[in-house]
């Protein structure tokens, strides 16, 4: 997308790299690999600089030095211990940091998923399908939700062979899953095309006309 105020040099760099990446559609070539390596290198360099500035400087060094928050030394030690993995003799010390991260993450994640996802989503399927308006689609929609949830769950029930009623129900569940995959696929195509359209518009209608002096 054309960035307002972008100069011709910046636009030309962007345009060249976009064309280099697209050139892979014809076949692999040095321009594609150049663009790929520039992207990987820039991303890594940018991340290192950003994390150093936003974590090490802003959240560790400045609070300790300016505000005297000495308690931050403990997470700093945990962070430093992670680097002991590079030394065989002391690598076991990194497990302390990893244990902290895993325990902390598991605790937060468990509550977050249970409270924020599992319970409200389950609650949303416990509905009275007959409540609401037939004409507005509320009743058919409610019935579809209930049938879809139950049959899809049965499809993933593997403790009994899918035969007879169980097999037929699981097959209905599979139809719901396929419809879901279809919706995902359609949306994915739309998303990827949107990105293509954005890049084509930039190259063909923003950058090239300006490069040759038409715009």
């Amino acid at each position: 997308m054309n960035a307002p105020g972008a100069g011709l040099i910046e636009m030309s760099v962007a345009g060249f790299l976009i064309l280099s990446i697209f050139s892979f559609l014809y076949k692999d070539n040095p321009f594609y690999r150049l663009a790929e390596h520039i992207f990987a290198g820039l991303t890594a360099g940018y991340y290192v600089g950003l994390i150093y500035q936003t974590v090490v400087v802003q959240q560790l060094a400045l609070p300790i030095l300016n505000d005297g928050k000495l308690e931050l030394i403990f997470p700093a030690i945990l962070g430093i211990l992670m680097f002991t993995r590079f030394f065989d003799r002391f690598s076991y010390l990194s497990r302390i940091s990893l244990a902290f991260v895993m325990g902390n993450t598991a605790g937060i994640f468990l509550i977050q998923q249970l409270h924020g996802l599992v319970l409200p989503q389950t609650q949303a399927t416990i509905i009275n399908p007959m409540a609401g308006d037939w004409l507005l689609g509320a009743v058919p929609g409610g019935i579809i939700i209930i049938v879809g949830v139950i049959t899809t769950l049965i499809y993933f029930y593997f403790s009994k062979e899918h035969k007879g009623v169980l097999g037929k129900t699981a097959r209905v569940g599979m139809v719901f899953i396929m419809i879901s995959f279809g919706a995902h696929f359609g949306y994915t195509v739309m998303a990827r095309l949107s990105l293509l359209i954005g890049q084509v518009k930039f190259v063909a209608f923003d950058w090239l006309p300006r490069l040759i002096g038409v715009n």
Binding site: M1, A3, P4, G5, L25, Y26, T43, Y46, Y47, L50, I51, T54, V55, Q59, I108, Q112, Q113, H115, G116, L117, P120, Q121, Q123, A124, I145, S180, A183, H184, Y187, T188, V189, M190, A191, R192, L193, S194, L195, L196, I197, G198, Q199, V200, K201, A204, F205
Partner: protein
């Protein structure tokens, strides 16, 4: 020529011809125009109506949770959201949970809208620190979203330029989710799950989202459970929102090429299936 020969020719079409056809289908609508009617979906209208009901002059949070690679799809959503909010004289506190490009995209879009669109449309420039603020990026989005529930200043003592929040008029009485009216998420990644399960569920802030089309189907379940008030899905969602605010932008322009390429893909799918059935067992 028998049907097996036709099937053989169809199945051996060089993939580069297909790429070329897609490229032409993208470019031609820009040149000759291919305007498409835009029908507004319920989830887009719900989001618009919710924002419309927020009292004028309120403060809301607006996120720029996307990478530069998806700009074409989600930036029109950000611009449409800003237009809608500023027409209602709302104050926007912006932030990003995306390190790569997030802070600079926020800065570029907000400055452009404040200095250009606001002057042309509203007759006045929107001022930094008064009408909008850029909090920037902080690592570990989960900790950021949880921490902001207790205190914005605890997570963001300064804006992204390093100026203390207390020095801005916009944040004088704002320090937690309950101080803002709404959370407007524009995202191209799974961060929406965290906003919903933490900010909405644990701290009760109402939220709506504009997301890439890849992600949209996943978030429909949040509409059903009423954890989200509305949803914009991909470029189509952005175009719908542009129609709702009566301000055609990039998304509306892109719907022509989008529809043309979709038709081209349907044509190739039909062609592939025709080849498959013509070829039969022999193929």
């Amino acid at each position: 020529m028998n049907r097996y020969r036709i099937a053989e020719i169809l199945t051996k079409i060089d993939r580069r011809i297909i790429y070329l056809a897609i490229l032409l289908a993208t470019i031609v609508p820009f040149l000759v125009g291919f305007p498409q009617p835009i029908y507004v979906s319920k989830e887009s209208r719900d989001l618009f109506n919710w924002v419309e009901k927020i009292p004028d002059g309120s403060t809301i949070l607006l996120t720029f949770d996307y990478y530069p690679s998806t700009l074409a799809e989600v930036e029109p959503m950000s611009r449409a959201a800003i237009k809608h909010c500023w027409r209602k004289d709302m104050k926007l506190i912006c932030l990003t949970t995306v390190p790569l490009g997030g802070p600079s995209i926020t800065e570029r879009v907000m400055n452009d809208m404040a200095k250009n669109w606001a002057v042309e449309e509203l007759g006045e420039e929107k001022k930094y620190g008064v009408h909008f603020l850029n909090l920037g990026y902080k690592p570990d989005y989960k900790a950021v979203i949880m921490g902001m529930g207790n205190s914005f200043r605890g997570i963001y003592p300064t804006d992204f330029r390093g100026v203390p929040l207390d020095s801005f008029p916009i944040t004088q009485n704002i320090d937690k989710y309950s101080d803002v009216e709404f959370l407007y998420i524009i995202s191209d990644n799974g961060i929406v799950d965290e906003w919903v399960t933490i900010a909405n569920r644990q701290f009760g802030i109402p939220l709506g989202a504009g997301v890439t089309a890849v992600m949209a189907p996943k978030f429909y379940s949040y509409l059903q459970s009423q954890q989200m008030v509305g949803l914009l899905g991909g470029m189509r969602g952005a175009a719908e929102y542009e129609k709702l605010i009566d301000s055609e932008g990039m998304a509306t322009l892109f719907m022509g090429p989008q529809s043309m390429v979709h038709l081209m893909i349907i044509f190739f799918i039909l062609l592939g299936n025709t080849a498959y059935f013509l070829g039969g067992r022999k193929a």
